[in-house]
């Protein structure tokens, strides 16, 4: 683009040089100049011949035709080969499509190349919302923030929209023509010099395509760059079992869980399934009056660590010794009780955990995290083996990700000049490769660089060809979920731009007659299924969103004996520097997604940037406070970021997050935060221990959505000890009131949120934003205190800083029966309906903000500025059933009133009452752990009524006599042992 701008600048200078008062004649002079010719040649090559000829009329004809034909672009271009006509609705729809009725398609969303089954809600042909696919054998209806936000990614205005050759617009035919000779030569050399670099791939079709390529071109190499990846998991299994394996947890068979920096509740492709099964198991234990205790240690608090019943912060370098100690303790012949009482909290934790594990032989489970070293993974496998857990609480399957050659080999080969052609598919190595790879520099040595990606990112800008990659919501594709289930991705909209899927791009490059993604995939599965009745099976698979019984069979490998514990680490100079993916923008590839940027990081509650987290004690020692800039130097690489003090973090640990410091991702994500990839090393992705930590200059204000971390002595989050007196009460509903009303129409909507099941994952927050057209306001407005999330997740700490307990509390509108806000509004823009909803009538609101001032929960949000303005393509995402609010109008959670209305209409048409579970709010349906119950409190049999009768049920600030319709179930804690 910059070259074009430069040229038009030259044209402007030329125009200025023509004279003081340019006339039409002057324009002709300019048109004859060589500069203009050059400009046309470069930016509009197709116009060149026309201008060269005598016929200006011809130019006018073409322009008129293009105007007239522009309208045809809206016409249906469905072709049998594109497969769009083959997509199958999830439910049995009558033939045709009812306008403005939502229609769901089973599909999937991808994270790190791994699928979770989803339903895509489309209205009038536009995908507008992601819901979980309850039929999917792995994800079972849950969602996470990434899947919820992926629908906004489709409409990202900064997506690349056309093929680019050397930064100039081109097209697919030109690409194909240009590559014809080039790839003929490659083929003649059996692929020598050709390298394929992809992101992590689990797609059976794509893996098959790559396998065939390698067969045809034996000298071709395939590498994977996975910024997060699962290599440590595979390597750990290889150390313990002799082969690469995926680990699957079965919490339902466990009585005790021990996590050594485990991340099963944290972001990742496993999050949805793992948190769902963990909570289900915890609930079934609670019914038996027991606690499925979770013991956790971690250097940096994670969601898994926060939900643990017993936890202690432990340095990264102490984790492996701790694991070895646990193993030794468990395998020890006799009890080693006689020793001195444990000296440190970590040792006390270890003794407690070991005792619990020994008491639960075969019904315990030890886990560790994606980012932990292979050695730790191996020891954890050996502990599970020693406890007899393998085959019971933990099973193993083959890796779902395709195993390619290491990325480091590609770097070496590029350095040696062995790479002549590099195809980069859905990966951004210039940004996401470890800093010591110097990938941007090495890339210059490659003579032909092709990049396929959704954005013209750091890599796209440095490549010869950039190819726009289709979004999963507009593609035919497949991928495996973590249990191996082959999940089908079907397009829910015609491609927005002239983009292609990864499979199509490989087909264009290597096949004489390029096939469509649909054909490629269908051909693969036809070959794979080998069944006479393929059509039926295929249609079923597409309709259900997955291939039935395609999960990998579980294996129960035998663990090798443990390696001896490493000698005590010669204590390297603290602090230890850890690098972790960002919980919202992940590895940075989602950096242009405004929902994810404005989503508070679950533990930090910061938005729009990454920070450097340290423990309170560390900060006090170094005299650092939130926002103080620090510099972390490793060799010649250095990054500067602001400090954020994180209670519960280990004292010697400093955490950096990936995903920021980008400059060519788009208008949303550019220029935010620091780039931690610079400190990554090919040899160790998750730790930069040799780095120097220094105080930097100055400080910056960090946007956060929650400033205070403690409950100030109150019990907003109540805790229920197992077996103790119930902490719930109904006191909130027994006080007298002047506003007692009995004009109900027989329904009473209510919500119960189970704080024990809430893992703080934020899926509900993004789901609410997607469903209700909640605007994004940007960093400055968050700093001003004007974030708009209708549903927020409060995070409170209890206990001392070093072992702080973090607890989460989602806060939507309480829909108080005696709502204070309704008293304040002078124009009755907020009022009650007969089903107990506290309504907000946007077009009656004049914006006095009285309701917010009157609200004790502060769940109302005001459009201080024109927040709903957005690029046209972003507006395509909006839910047509929900009003887009103008500036000057108050808004808040409506219990998804549009869904209630839809349910009421459906029930009225059939002359019946609304069935329990028929109306589900966006937050409740998004929740992977089903922590949110919603329904009719007047219906004695409804799930929400039952939840409300739980002895743990209580109202937030119930003493104010607001009679909230949203109530909470206290979180479970272990019975306090008498010391």
């Amino acid at each position: 683009m910059s070259s074009l701008r430069g040229d038009s600048g030259a044209l402007r200078r030329l125009l200025a040089a023509v004279g003081g008062r340019p006339s039409w004649r002057a324009l002709e002079q300019v048109a004859d100049s060589p500069e203009f010719g050059g400009y046309i040649q470069q930016s509009h090559p197709s116009l060149g011949p026309m201008l060269a000829g005598p016929s200006r009329r011809r130019v006018l004809q073409v322009m008129a035709a293009s105007l007239a034909l522009g309208g045809l672009a809206g016409c249906d271009k469905r072709q049998p080969s594109s497969g769009t006509s083959q997509i199958v609705p999830y439910v049995n729809q009558p033939t045709g499509l009812t306008p403005s009725e939502p229609l769901d398609y089973a599909s999937a969303t991808l994270l790190d190349g791994i699928a979770n089954g989803m339903l895509v809600t489309t209205i009038n042909g536009r995908p507008i919302k992601i819901e979980g696919n309850p039929q999917h054998p792995f994800s079972r209806g849950g969602t996470d923030v990434f899947s919820q936000a992926s629908v906004l990614g489709l409409y990202d205005p900064d997506r690349s929209q056309a093929v680019q050759h050397l930064s100039n617009p081109s097209d697919w035919d030109t690409l194909q023509a240009a590559m014809l000779n080039r790839f003929a030569a490659v083929r003649a050399q059996h692929g020598a010099g050709l390298r394929l670099l992809t992101g992590p791939v689990s797609s059976p079709t794509l893996l098959d395509q790559i396998a065939q390529l390698k067969q045809a071109l034996p000298q071709m190499h395939w590498h994977v760059l996975a910024p997060v990846g699962r290599d440590n998991i595979y390597a750990g299994a290889e150390q313990a079992f002799g082969k690469k394996l995926e680990t699957l947890w079965h919490f339902d068979k466990a009585e005790v869980i021990v996590s050594l920096d485990g991340d099963f509740l944290d972001s990742g492709p496993h999050q949805i399934a793992a948190s769902r099964t963990w909570v289900a198991a915890r609930r079934s234990r609670a019914v038996q009056g027991k606690l499925l205790a979770l013991h956790a240690v971690a250097p940096v608090p994670t969601l898994t660590y926060a939900k643990a019943d017993y936890h202690a912060p432990v340095a990264q370098r102490d984790l492996l010794p701790l694991a070895h100690a646990l193993l030794a303790d468990i395998t020890a012949e006799q009890e080693s009780q006689a020793g001195t009482p444990p000296a440190t909290p970590a040792a006390a934790w270890g003794a407690n955990a070991a005792a619990a594990l020994k008491a639960a032989h075969g019904t315990s489970l030890v886990v560790t995290g994606t980012h932990q070293s292979p050695e730790l993974h191996a020891v954890v496998h050996q502990i599970n083996a020693a406890l007899g857990n393998i085959g019971k609480t933990v099973t193993y399957i083959d890796p779902v990700l395709g195993q390619a050659e290491p990325f480091a080999d590609l770097v070496t080969a590029m350095g040696a000049g062995d790479v002549t052609t590099l195809i980069m598919l859905d990966t951004n190595p210039v940004y996401a490769a470890p800093g010591d790879a110097q990938f941007g520099t090495l890339l210059q040595k490659v003579s032909l660089k092709l990049h396929a990606g959704s954005h013209i990112d750091e890599t796209g800008a440095r490549s010869d060809w950039h190819l726009p990659l289709s979004h999963p919501l507009e593609s035919w594709a497949d991928a495996r979920s973590l249990d191996g289930t082959a999940t089908i991705i079907q397009p829910t909209i015609e491609r927005l731009y002239d983009s292609r899927t990864a499979t199509e791009i490989l087909s264009i490059l290597f096949e004489p007659q390029p096939r469509s993604a649909f054909t490629i995939m269908r051909d693969y599965w036809q070959k794979q299924m080998q069944t006479a009745d393929f059509e039926t099976v295929w249609r079923q698979a597409v309709q259900a969103g997955f291939v039935d019984r395609s999960a990998f069979p579980p294996q129960t490998p035998t663990a090798k004996p443990a390696q001896p514990a490493p000698s005590a680490s010669d204590s390297a100079t603290p602090p230890e520097i850890l690098i972790r993916p960002d919980p919202t923008v992940w590895d940075g590839s989602l950096g242009n997604n405004a929902w994810l940027q404005e989503l508070p990081k679950p533990m930090l509650k910061t938005v729009w940037e990454n920070v450097v987290t340290v423990s309170p004690a560390f900060a006090a020692r170094q005299n650092l406070k939130n926002g103080d800039m620090v510099t972390i130097e490793l060799g010649s690489d250095a990054v500067s970021g602001p400090i954020w003090v994180l209670p519960g973090q280990n004292d010697e640990t400093v955490m950096l997050q990936l995903g920021y410091g980008r400059n060519s991702v788009g208008a949303v994500g550019d220029g935010l935060g620091y780039n931690a990839y610079a400190l990554r090393r090919l040899a160790g992705l998750w730790q930069a221990d040799a780095a120097k930590f220094q105080r930097g200059h100055g400080s910056r204000t960090i946007a956060t959505t929650q400033q205070l971390d403690t409950q100030e002595g109150h019990d907003y989050i109540r805790l229920q000890e197992i077996g103790a007196q119930p902490v719930g009460d109904t006191a909130a509903y027994t006080q007298p009131t002047l506003y007692d009303r009995n004009d109900s129409d027989g329904r009473a909507w209510g919500m119960v949120i189970d704080l024990d099941a809430c893992t703080g994952c934020n899926a509900c927050v993004v789901a609410c934003q997607a469903e209700n057209n909640v605007p994004v306001v940007g960093r400055d407005q968050v700093l001003a205190g004007r974030d708009m999330h209708w549903l927020r997740v409060d995070r409170y700490y209890t206990g001392p800083d070093e072992s702080a307990d973090a607890r989460f509390m989602p806060v939507p509108c309480m829909h108080c029966e005696t709502a204070p806000c309704e008293l304040g509004c002078p124009v009755e823009a907020t009022l009650h309906d007969k089903e107990g909803l506290n309504l907000m009538v946007y077009n009656r609101c004049v914006g006095t903000r009285a309701c917010s001032a009157y609200c004790p929960y502060k769940v109302r949000h005001f459009n201080f500025l024109h927040y709903s303005e957005a690029p046209a393509v972003v507006q395509e995402q909006r839910n047509p059933s929900v009003t887009v609010r103008a500036r000057g109008v108050m808004e808040k959670c409506t219990y998804c009133v549009q869904r209630i209305v839809a349910g009421r209409i459906a029930a009225d048409k059939e002359d019946r009452s609304i069935r329990d579970g028929e109306v589900v709010t966006a937050c409740a349906s998004a929740c992977p752990t089903q922590a949110i119950f919603f329904g009719d409190l007047a219906d004695k049999g409804s799930a929400v009524t039952k939840a409300r009768q739980d002895s743990r049920n209580y109202a937030l600030l119930g003493e104010l006599n607001t009679r909230p319709r949203t109530t909470y179930l206290a979180a479970l804690t272990p019975t306090k042992e008498k010391a």
Binding site: L708, A784, G824, V846, R849, A853, L957
Partner: protein, 465 residues
């Protein structure tokens, strides 16, 4: 004359020498010519023009600030969630408090037949009218969608929609409107005989005509005087009621919530007291300025300043009592949120607003125990200004401190004002001072009729003695 029958029951002792507010040498004629002369001759012209120029520019800025505001929305101010009401409502409450306080004092003194008020009542009533005008800007512009402001009012419409009558904001809208009507009528009706005097004394034709129209055909007949006195006193009663209503109404906007620091029965009374305090402060400032600009020392005398000082002292002590009561109620009442809110008032981020009340209002009133200070126009100017600043601090504290942190710690957010919010407030100051300058330029700056009455009454008292 009818007025002569209304002999005052007594005069305050101490402020005057032998009950003499104005020199005994003053006659009807000299009083008339002193006050009318100011309107005709326009003394201190240069100072007036400088002050008017500055005020005019500030008013112009107000227009710019409002255009900017209407274009972008209230987001140009620093308001946020939870502090949805900030400088806009602080300014509104403060202006309205000044208006109510000034009107209440003037009307009460009339009802109590204190004729020495003639020196002060024009200043007080002008303050009431013009402060209400400055305040009247805010209820409309602070709305998110100001073009729908009339939805706050009950008017027949084909949607059969009415305001929500439980809302204190609706009643506040009625309050402002009726206050403006009563205040303007009180000010104007009280001025009728004076305008007629100016009409009679005017030498230029245009002045005769303009004052003549304004005087509404006042001829000074006995019937005129009788009706005038009746109307003036009825309006005074309405004015007192109105002032109380407006302040109670404004305070119920907060007291009607469940929010800690707002949900308080003391709040309405505190609002009335602080309104009187800042209203008197503003009258003191205005009177000092008039004395500085114009040769009226013999009509607005040190005795008048003295009595004004005593009033401020009395109201200030009442305010001190209210704050003390609030402290004890909260400290002993036991509500943990109230107590935490009170601690934030004393020590939190916005503690400056509480200490502004203490330093600018509650402490300086004690200077007024000294006669010398009470009788110094300059000191009264300074103290009056401090009272206004202190009460401004009170409104800020009442609004922002409870809002920024109420019940849930997670809701806490701090409010920072913005350039546009501050300059909008300064613009309303400009609007107020521009209108004040116009009024004191063209309208009798003290009541001619009541000053004459005072002179006669003084003569009678001396004759009786």
């Amino acid at each position: 004359m009818a007025i002569q029958a209304a002999t005052p029951k007594g005069t305050p002792r101490g402020a005057t020498i032998g009950g003499q507010y104005i020199p005994p040498s003053h006659t009807d004629r000299s009083i008339g010519s002193t006050i009318a002369g100011i309107a005709f001759e326009h003394p201190s012209r240069t100072r007036w023009f400088i002050a008017f120029g500055i005020s005019f520019l500030m008013t112009g800025w107000l227009v710019i600030a409002l255009v900017w505001l209407f274009y972008w929305g209230v987001g140009v101010w620093g308001n946020n969630i939870p502090v949805g009401w900030a400088l806009d409502i602080v300014s509104y409450d403060w202006w309205m408090g000044n208006a109510c306080g000034a009107l209440m004092v003037s009307a009460l003194l009339l009802l109590l037949r204190q004729y020495w008020r003639g020196a002060l009542n024009r200043a007080a009533e002008t303050t009431a009218v013009l402060c209400a005008a400055a305040a009247g800007v805010y209820p409309i512009i602070h709305l998110g969608r100001p073009w729908f402001f009339y939805w706050n009012l009950p008017y027949p419409n084909n949607l059969l929609l009415w305001p929500q009558f439980r809302s204190p904001l609706v009643w506040d809208a009625f309050d402002i409107i009726s206050f403006l009507i009563v205040a303007v009528l009180f000010w104007y009706v009280g001025m009728l005989p004076d305008l007629a005097t100016l009409r009679d004394r005017a030498s230029r034709r245009i002045q005769k005509q303009m004052y003549g129209i304004a005087a509404l055909g006042w001829r000074g007949s006995a019937m005129h005087w009788a009706r005038w006195l009746q109307a003036y006193r009825i309006l005074a009663i309405l004015g007192v009621l109105q002032a109380v209503c407006v302040q109670v109404g404004a305070s119920v906007m907060y007291a009607g919530t469940v929010e800690p620091g707002w949900h308080d029965t003391l709040l309405p009374f505190l609002f009335i007291v602080t309104a009187a305090l800042s209203g008197l402060g503003m009258v003191a400032v205005l009177v000092s300025v008039i004395r500085y600009l114009y040769p009226v020392e013999t009509l607005i005398t040190r005795a008048h300043l003295d009595i004004l000082g005593r009033l401020i002292l009395a109201v200030g002590l009442l305010a001190t009592y209210c704050y003390a009561a609030d402290f004890f109620f909260t400290a002993l009442g036991g509500d943990v949120y109230e107590r935490a809110g009170m601690m934030r008032r004393f020590t939190g981020t916005y503690a400056w607003s509480w200490w502004l009340i203490v330093i600018a209002a509650l402490l300086p009133i004690h200077l007024l125990w000294f006669r010398g200070i009470r009788r110094s126009a300059f000191m009264l100017f300074v103290i009056g200004f401090l009272m206004m600043a202190g009460v401004w601090g009170d409104h800020f504290m009442t609004l922002v401190t409870p809002q920024h942190h109420d019940f849930l710690p997670s809701s806490q957010a701090f409010y920072t004002t913005s350039f546009w919010a501050v300059t909008t407030f300064l613009g309303t100051v400009g609007l107020f001072s521009m209108l004040v300058l116009l009024v004191i330029r063209y309208v009798p700056i003290a009541s001619i009729v009541e000053s004459r009455l005072l002179a006669r009454q003084q003569q009678e008292t001396t004759q009786h003695a």
